[in-house]
Symmetry: C2
Subunit: 118 residues, 2 copies
């Protein structure tokens, strides 16, 4: 069946959450896409989010060089969330860590799982 | 540092997205939690979401038996998304597939990656 972006369920702001996962399984980050960002990502192979704070397209790594190349986009059963398998250049997190999910909660304490790359 | 749930950034509806990932790395699903669901999940070790459609707590698997036992909860850098490493009993998806992300987009076509468990 051909993919129709209009079958995706965007929220009231026209956005859908998009999870980026590295090919080794590590979840790197979650950000948001609008319809056009989905299409740009599929067309260019460069993962492109919609920045809610800047209200602008955000080609991941365009300024930092930490690009995300799309390996495969997946849609969930409810069509209201995307999972992208990506080839990540450098750290995905703006703190210079590979993943944004570097803080674990263990016995009520926050534990740092990764240190920033140098 | 002690974890303070009030440092999480919930959206205008008081919700935060929560990604469930199996210990082998497979991303199973994404759903939403409110503050109380986060606390119940941490306290009970049973992953508990907030159902937006039913406006009620949703202890994953409570009716289906497909429970999610929390292995570890992680918080992202912006504190507006959670990643839960879980021990999933049976399929996570209501379609009886292990993951909700069973549809891949390849060359403009939708490809089914998993079939339902029997």
């Amino acid at each position: 069946m051909a993919f129709d972006p209009d079958t995706l369920r965007f929220n009231a702001d026209g956005l859908i959450p998009a999870i980026a996962q590295a090919e080794d399984g590590q979840v790197l980050m979650m950000a948001w896409m609008n319809r056009e960002a989905v299409l740009r990502t599929l067309k260019t192979g460069r993962v492109t989010y919609w920045s809610r704070s800047r209200q602008a397209f955000w080609v991941k790594g365009e300024t930092s060089g930490h690009l995300q190349r799309l390996v495969e986009m997946r849609v969930d059963c409810d069509r209201d969330c995307l999972l992208m398998i990506v080839d990540q250049t450098g750290p995905a997190c703006h703190t210079n860590r590979r993943s944004c999910f570097y803080t674990a909660l263990r016995r009520g304490e926050e534990v740092e799982l990764m240190t920033p790359d140098r």
